[in-house]
Amino acid sequence: MDEKYYYGGFGGRYVPESLIEPLNELDRNYKSCKKDKNFQSKLSDILKNYAGRPTPLYLSGALSEYCGCSVYLKREDLCHTGAHKINNALGQGLLAVETGKRNIIAETGAGQHGVATAAAAALFGLKCTIYMGTKDIKRQHNNVVRMKLLGADIVEVQEGDKTLNAAVNATLRRWVQDPENIYYLLGSCVGPHPYPAIVRDFHSVIGKEVKEQIPDRPDVIVACVGGGSNSIGIFTPFFKDKNIRFVGVEAEGCASLSKGKVGVLHGAKSYLLYDKNGQIKKTHSIAPGLDYSGVGPEHSFYKERSRAEYVNINDSEALKAFRWLSKNEGIIPALESSHAVAWVMKEKWNGGQKVVINLSGRGDKDIDEIFSMEEIKREYE
C-alpha cells in the first residue's frame, strides 16, 4: 500500500491491473500541468470568460431572516451549464488536450457532469461519449437533450441499478478496453488515485473565491454530498482553519457517510452502503446527483478525523427547501443543493453567525420530474 495514494486510510487504487499504468500516466501528466504556468493561465482564462467565474457570493435576505443569522449563497448555479461541474470538466478537458487524448468518456447521474463534459468537449473539439443509467435518462430528459445538442453520444446503461453506480461501472469497463486512447473524465472526487485529488483541485476554486468574497471569515460552510465534489471544493481552502465548521449534507436514502461502512468500490476504499454479504446497496434519492452508494475517500478521512460533520436530509425536506427558496428568494436551486439549504433551515442559529451554503447547481433540470408528482402539479395549477 502506497501512502501517497491515501487520505489517512482511505483511497488507494483498487482497479484492474490494466488501469494501473494509465493511472500512473494520468498522475504524471496532471502533476506537470499543475506546475505549468501556461496551463494554469489557459484554465483561468476559460473559467473566467467561458464558465463565468468568479460566481457571486450572495447574502440571502430571505434565508438570513428565516434563520436569524447571515446566510450566504455561493452561486455555483450561475456557472455555465448550470452547476459547479463545469470547473472540473474544463480542467480535465484541458488536461486531455494537453496530453494528446482526443476521445473523452464520462459517467453521469443527474446529467450535470455529462452536460459539462459535453460542453468542454465541444469547446476543445474532442469526441465525447457519456454513459448514463436508464433510470436517470428518464428522469433527466432535459440534460440528455442538451448533451446531444452539444454533440455527445449517449450510451444507455441498462445493467445494475440503472443509475450512477452502473454508469461508473460501464465507463470503467470502456476505459479498460482502450486506456491509451481514451481519457476518462471522472465527474466526482471518487475513484482511484489521482482522480479524487484532481477533481478536488479543480473545484477548490469555489472555496478560494469565497475566501476573497466574504467579509471577515465564515463560521459554518454547508454543502451537499453525493460523491462529494462541490463540498470538497468549497471545504479544501478552509481546511486548516479548524474553527470553521464544515457540514456535509447527504440524502437520507444514500447516506454512505452517516449510515455506511468502510468498503471498496470504483477504485477506492471509502465509506459505502453495502449489505452483510458485501453487495452494494441500491440507493434512492429524489436528487439524482446524490443517488450514489459511495463517497469520495477524502470525505471518509474528514469524517474519521471529525473535520466535518455529515448529516442527512430526506426527499420531502429537500423538496420543501427547493420550493421555499424559489418562492422567497427567486432562486430555483438544484434538488441536490436543496439538501444543503434544507439542513440550514432546520438548524438553530444565533444572530452573529455567518453561514455559507454552496448552491452547487440550478434546479431547471429538476422541474419536469417535480411536476410529474401529482400533488405538486395540482398545487401550482
Binding site: 500500500m1 487504487r13 499504468e21 461501472n169 478496453q177 468502510v262 459505502l272 454479504n277 458485501g278 452494494i280
Partner: protein, 265 residues
C-alpha cells in the same frame, strides 16, 4: 504444498498446457453449480476450477459473467453459501479450486475471517481482480497465514519492472490478461499477444496462465504455443443451460474435449 501448486508445477515440468475453467458460484443454481464442479472433476475436463463469487458491481467482467452474477445474486447466492457448497465437496473431489472474488465481498466481514473460511472450504488460492499489486500486501499476508496463495494479474501494459515484482509475489502462476478489456468472448489474438506472453515468461520464473477472451479451440491452440496454461470463463458460462443440466454436461464435455485437443496436440 497446495493441491493447486502441485498440479501447476507438475504440468509445467511435463511441459503440458494447463487448463482452468471458470464457474460463477451458485449459477445457474447452487445444486447445479456443485454438480458441475463434480462433473468437471470426475471427467478430468480441466486441471483446476476458478469459482467466481457474484458481485453487484463487477468492473472487470463482461456481459456474460455480469449476467450470471446478477442472476445468482437475485436467487439469494452469498459468499457464505457458495463456500458451504464448496466445503461439502471437500473429500469428494480431487480438482484444485481457486477463489475469484472482488474485494468488497471479502471485506464485508473481517478479512481474516472471510479468507480463513475460504481456506477451510478447500480453496488453494485467490484471485482478487480489483486488488492489484501494490494494494495486495495485507491480503497476501493473511492468505499465507491461512495456507492459501495469491494469484496476481498482469496486463499487456504492465511495465517490465512491475512484471518482475509481481512475479515474485504471485503464486503458483501469473495470470496474464490476454488483451485490454473485460472478460468475455470475441477477442482477437495476434502475434503481439504471443510476444507479450513470451516477454512475461522471460521476466519471471513462474508459469504464465493466460485468460480473458479465449473462446474457441483455435484461440486456445494459438495461445498454447507460448502460455503455460489457459483460463476460460465466459465461453464456459455461455454453455450453461439454466434448466437442463444434462444438456450443460454434454456441451461442456464436448467443449472441453475440443479445447483439450487444441492445447495438447
Amino acid at each position: 504444498m497446495s493441491k493447486l501448486k502441485d498440479k501447476v508445477e507438475r504440468l509445467y515440468r511435463e511441459d503440458k498446457t494447463g487448463l482452468s475453467f471458470f464457474l460463477t458460484g451458485g449459477y445457474p443454481d447452487m445444486e447445479s453449480f456443485t454438480k458441475l464442479v463434480k462433473y468437471i472433476d470426475k471427467n478430468n475436463l480441466a486441471d483446476f476450477i476458478e469459482v467466481g463469487i457474484p458481485f453487484s458491481d463487477p468492473v472487470a467482467d463482461g456481459p456474460v459473467i455480469q449476467e450470471s452474477s446478477q442472476k445468482a445474486i437475485s436467487a439469494g447466492t452469498t459468499y457464505n453459501n457458495i463456500l458451504m457448497a464448496v466445503k461439502s465437496l471437500k473429500n469428494k473431489i480431487d480438482i484444485p479450486l481457486v477463489l475469484m472474488s472482488y474485494l468488497n465481498i471479502l471485506l464485508a466481514d473481517e478479512l481474516e475471517k472471510t479468507l480463513l473460511t475460504a481456506a477451510d472450504a478447500g480453496f488453494s488460492a485467490a484471485i482478487i481482480p480489483d486488488m492489484p499489486y501494490g494494494e495486495h500486501e495485507k491480503a497476501l499476508e493473511i492468505l499465507k497465514r491461512v495456507g492459501m496463495e495469491l494469484i496476481l494479474l498482469i496486463s499487456p501494459g504492465t511495465p517490465d519492472k512491475r512484471v518482475r515484482e509481481i512475479g515474485k509475489e504471485s503464486s503458483p502462476f501469473l495470470y496474464y490478461v490476454s488483451s485490454y478489456g473485460v472478460t468475455g468472448n470475441g477477442k482477437k489474438f495476434d502475434k503481439k499477444t504471443l510476444e507479450s506472453i513470451r516477454k512475461v515468461r522471460n521476466l519471471s520464473a513462474k508459469p504464465v496462465y493466460c485468460g480473458f477472451g479465449i473462446t474457441t479451440g483455435k484461440d486456445a491452440q494459438y495461445i498454447a504455443d507460448i502460455a503455460d496454461g489457459e483460463i476460460i470463463g465466459s465461453a464456459v458460462i455461455d454453455l450453461i443451460s439454466e434448466n437442463n443440466i444434462e444438456q450443460t454436461f454434454n456441451d461442456i464435455y464436448k467443449f472441453a474435449i475440443n479445447i483439450g485437443k487444441s492445447i495438447r496436440e
